[in-house]
Amino acid sequence: MSLAKRLTRLSEVLVALSGSPIPTHLFQTLADLAPAAVPCDYLAVCLPTTEQPGYLVHSLAALPSDISARVWTLDEGFPGFAMRTGHVSVVEDLAGADGTGALEGVLTGAGLRAVLVVPVRRGVEVVGALLFASQKPAVYRQDDVQIAALIAAGLGSALESSRAYQALADERSTLAAVLGSTSDAVVMLNDDGVVLLANPAVGTMLGILPDAMVGRPLVEVPGHEPLGRLFEESRERTAEVPLPGGRTAQASLVSVVTPYGEPVGVAAILRDISLLKHLEQMKNEFVNTVSHDLKNPISVIDGTAEVVSWSAKDPALQRRIQRIRDEARYMAELVTDLLDLGKIEAGLGPPKEPIDAVRLVADAVANIAPTAEAKGVAVETQLPAEVWAMAAAPQLTQVLLNLIGNGVKYTPAGGRVTVSLIAATGTDAKGPAMVSIRVADTGIGIAAHHLPHVFDKFYRVHDASTKGIPGTGLGLAIAKSIVENHGGRIAVESTEGVGSVFVVEIPGCPPAD
């Protein structure tokens, strides 16, 4: 056969080897096509075994005695030599060759004379050997060695691809199994809005079959609306998504990036939280019921004590009745505070909306003004023309009443409470990043060792200066919960005998029309 023809056959082998990642296909390709490029009566692929050091001979043409049945050690045979050293072996005639062993014995027994063995490499590592054998002696020349080496290079490449393919296929099926068995719906879009991935839970949760989504732009999928709204603002966040049948899902949006930092798209993970929503509602109802059941008897005690006091003439009895009424009011306040705190910590409460913070502060100050005036404490305000904040108005009012009320409560007559409102830096078309409200007084102040605890539940400073000032010790704990619930911060600075400054920061927003 001419060299040109053999090179054509060689290129056919190389092209065919790159055609499939399945090892048995590779071996079939070699058995079918390699003998046309390198003449042989017997062809085998020798690959190392994983369990024990050594190699197996995979015969691609049958031999009378089964050469494939046993594991050969690397010290045995020409393939072992090739795999150990990476060298090529060419044997003109097995009959007269030195250093032949059991493996060569089997070949000789099958009537084979000439042998050509080339190593198969992956990178610098030898991962196997190709064995060609012929019944005619002295058939393998330099051309054959080179063509065989190229076939081996092609096989090495194909085996590497095959291994990578297997690893990817395993990984993919594991991933598919995980995505398939989770009850959370996972949907991923690329930058153009085309659905790259949707798991079976999407079907159960949204009523859209994953097969009807994948590969199509999301906007073209019937019933995509809840997802479409979620993806519209394509950045990392969480949101609640209404599902068909009155159910609710909590969705987290994450941007998907390869380990090399290349953006791939955006994924949404949806979890059905209908049950949680239901429990939340039950808790809400429970809180309302308990509130009613606790507060009612207290009102009755207070009311009855008042009625009794009308007819009581004895001053000692009057004092005792007054004591009952004071304690009943204190208890009513405590119950209200506790329930408030429970509600806020459970995340229940009025919705947050853009509010005019200037007006809210002015109203709160006006509310406290009579008390302050009666006590002889001046309340001043420093307010800008307009600042908007994202808040629940009743809750923020509660915080302000508490802070300003505290200021008045702990400032002796002749003192001053200053309430100021500042839109923090970062103001642009979207409104200020943060709005801070500062309540400063010239009161008794808080000792340094009490400062870290003033926001703790039921923490009160008990000393001579606070004697006779009533309070439940829950006001600041409630204020802190409310502010944190708004995504804000509350802080205090104080010097004993000079005064205290409370600063509340909450997110700002653009003005509502």
Binding site: S157, E160, V257, Y260
Partner: protein, 209 residues
């Protein structure tokens, strides 16, 4: 290569990545946020005699860099297994991560300066190595990096091409504060210069843009 990616710029967040290091663990850029500044050094890796010299310099100045709360992450277009073989007992004190297909280079806007520059770079690198008694590591590095690649990928992906070097200074907020882009074998800022840059650029907080 994704030509549509925005090029990272000063004041913006550094693109995040998570790559395996020669030392073992996967290095996540996000994990340094709030803890340490990061010198992200895109190099030509162990096949380059100049990079090997810079690595030694960076190793010698590593104590001073740590003293200003900074980690160095060296990125190289080498194969991970080859790099582990090359550095068997001599890995640098800072993480060396591998990006053989130069994908992170592309994300950070570092390109290849073409075949002519690659030829010049290879000639200069090899002659420099041979003239400075560095021939052994040079040949060993080139052999490990090129020969371990799939036959077809050897042609265009290996580290012996003219890939640009880059130094990106990332502060504790994860923002880029300084960028130096250099030719494949041009000098990059030394450790003392980096300490100076860190003190100048990473001291105060920056408002994210």
């Amino acid at each position: 290569m994704r030509p549509d990616l925005p090029r990272p710029t000063i004041g913006h967040a550094a693109p995040l990545f998570g790559l395996r290091s020669v030392q073992g663990p996967t290095v996540e850029l996000a994990a340094y946020r709030g803890r340490l500044n990061v010198v992200l050094w895109f190099s030509r890796g162990f096949t380059c005699p100049f990079c090997r010299a810079y690595m030694d310099g960076m190793g010698n100045g590593y104590g001073e860099l740590r003293a200003v709360e900074t980690e160095v992450i060296q990125v190289a277009p080498n194969l991970l297994e080859s790099a582990r073989t090359f550095f068997r007992d001599s890995a640098s004190p800072f993480p060396f991560v591998c990006d053989p297909d130069k994908r992170l280079y592309a994300v950070y806007g570092l390109g290849d300066r073409g075949a002519l520059e690659a030829t010049r770079t290879a000639l200069v690198s090899f002659s420099h190595a041979f003239a400075h008694g560095d021939a052994g590591p040079q040949v060993r590095g080139a052999w490990l990096d090129v020969m371990n690649r799939n036959f077809l990928r050897r042609l265009h992906h290996h580290a012996m091409t003219a890939v640009e070097q880059g130094i990106f200074l990332v502060d504790k907020q994860g923002l880029i504060r300084h960028i130096t882009v250099a030719g494949p074998i041009d000098p990059v800022p030394t450790a003392p210069r980096l300490v100076d840059l860190i003190q100048r650029h990473c001291a105060e907080e920056l408002q994210p843009t």
